[in-house]
């Protein structure tokens, strides 16, 4: 049976891993390479990296751990790709097919787009034609405005005229492979996912929906599996804070017979001895 995916999201701001709340306040959590290595041991089904920097000045020099100084997001991506043995999705600052190609070349398996897709839906099709639908993830930020779910652009700042289901259909029909559905209101709140939103989008499209925003405990994931057709659940802050959180949440879900991959704490693949010859 195909498993439901649990996906850690790493938010990168100016090259650092950050914790986010309501898309507006951020706390520095350190070096993304270190975080990736830690996550790997807990068996992530995939990893999503979102670059949410406003500027292009990345700086890892203040880090006391001995990694090369990287001041470019693509170089940082190259570093994390080398220590990640799970499928990688990269999002943020994609404006042209050239940007997609660069990210794929640096080790991404999929590239997520958001504002660019809203400004120019045709870009979704161009991306799918060039790199295949399986590579195209459209990230959708949704905020409740006057009691209605509205699709937002520019990192949750600008309201678009779309209703989420309407936009999801356009995204699907344009050739996207997956939708990353993010609730701006729930971001960092740990109060549970926006089930109503996830249900209405996932039951109306025929491509996988990844639910993001609001996870605080394992029951929140269970609720998504029980009440919606989402194919995957993602969380950022939750997986960064608690030691082994990804493993423990997966274990709870597995013990309660939700269709998730068997939880394991793996040896470090990169440092394992391989006795091939």
């Amino acid at each position: 049976m195909k498993k439901k995916r649990l996906i850690p999201v790493l938010l990168l701001k100016d090259g650092f891993l950050v914790q986010s709340r309501s898309f507006s306040t951020y706390r520095n959590l350190g070096n993304p390479v270190t975080a990736t290595k830690r996550l790997n041991a807990w068996g992530p089904d995939e990893i999503i990296y979102l670059d949410i920097s406003k500027s292009d000045n990345y700086d890892l020099r203040r880090d006391d751990i001995k990694h090369p100084n990287r001041n470019n997001f693509l170089d940082i991506l190259e570093d994390v790709a080398q220590v990640t043995f799970a499928p990688i999705t990269i999002g943020g600052k994609v404006r042209a097919l050239r940007d997609v190609e660069q990210r794929l070349r640096k080790g991404a398996d999929k590239v997520s787009i958001n504002t660019k897709a809203l400004e120019e839906p045709r870009f979704i099709t161009e991306m799918a034609n060039e790199f295949g639908s399986q590579c195209v993830v459209v990230s959708m930020d949704v905020k409740i405005i006057d009691g209605e779910h509205r699709v937002m652009a520019h990192g949750g700042m600008k309201e678009m005229r779309y209703d989420p289901v309407e936009w999801a259909h356009i995204v699907q029909n344009s050739g996207a492979g997956e939708i990353l559905l993010n609730s701006v209101d729930r971001d960092g709140q740990k109060v549970g996912f926006d089930i109503e939103l996830i249900d209405k989008v996932s039951s109306r499209v025929r491509i996988p929906v990844i639910a993001l925003g609001g996870a605080g405990e394992w029951e929140h994931f269970a609720e998504v599996f029980l009440r919606t057709k989402a194919d995957a659940v993602a969380a950022a802050n939750l997986f960064q804070h608690m030691e082994q959180s990804l493993y423990l949440i997966k274990k709870q879900l597995h013990d309660h017979e939700f269709p998730v991959r068997r939880p394991f704490i793996s040896e470090d693949l990169a440092n394992e001895k391989h006795d091939l010859l």
Binding site: K3, R5, A81, F85, S133, Q134, R261, L277
Partner: protein, 208 residues
């Protein structure tokens, strides 16, 4: 005197697919590995790997343009070098593919590539799913039945000869996820993204 030949893997590159992560995994296994379409590298290699993510037709077109297929075919069919096709790299082993239009494949393992009949289920088939063993193969040595591996695809291989099916996976219908005909192997999933199990299968391939 007895010499063990050192493993030298050659990853064929047609400018599509995540060649880097296949390379990363092989480097972890500490084998000599090169990404190349050069005649001498293909002839000098002990193992050939064709990765890929793309549509059947565009992959086939790019492969014909960039890879010296006559050389590869000779190494595979006459010298019997182990060959591993990954995802689309497996699909193009078929006689024909029907993604968008009808295209000819390599025809090295008889079969056709068609859209998965997933019924109510959504496509693409993305995520972790089980390998159900169908016949014994050195490729699957020490791999527990029903191990999860990572897939991302909408099309699947329909093998003409069921004896070529090493393992299947169920998504709506069952489709072959590991196929093998002598030294020619194909995997529909991505071993380079399938963590420990993926690495074990690649190790088995390199031990062929």
């Amino acid at each position: 005197m007895f010499f063990v030949q050192r493993i030298k893997a050659c990853i064929l590159n047609y400018g599509s697919g995540n060649v880097g992560s296949v390379l990363n995994m092989l480097m972890l296994l500490k084998v000599d590995v090169i990404i190349s379409n050069e005649h001498t590298d293909i002839q000098g290699a002990t193992h050939l790997i064709l990765p890929g993510v793309a549509a059947f037709g565009s992959a086939m077109e790019k492969i014909k343009k960039t890879i010296p297929l006559d050389i590869v075919s000779r190494e595979v069919h006459q010298i019997k070098k182990p060959f591993l096709g990954i995802c689309v790299g497996m699909q193009i082993l078929a006689d024909k593919g029907f993604e968008f239009e009808e295209y000819d494949g390599l025809g090295w393992i008889s079969g056709e590539v068609k859209k998965i009949d997933a019924g109510e289920l959504i496509l693409p088939h993305v995520g972790w799913n089980e390998l159900i063993p169908r016949s014994s193969s050195n490729l699957m040595q020490r791999i527990e039945g029903h191990s999860d591996v990572y897939f991302t695809h909408s099309y699947a291989f329909h093998a003409k000869d069921p004896s070529h099916i090493v393992a299947e996976t169920k998504y709506g219908q069952c489709f072959p996820s590991v196929i093998q005909k002598d030294n020619i192997c194909g995997v529909q999933f991505h071993p380079e993204k399938s963590q420990k199990i993926g690495m074990a299968i690649v190790k088995n391939f390199l031990s062929m």
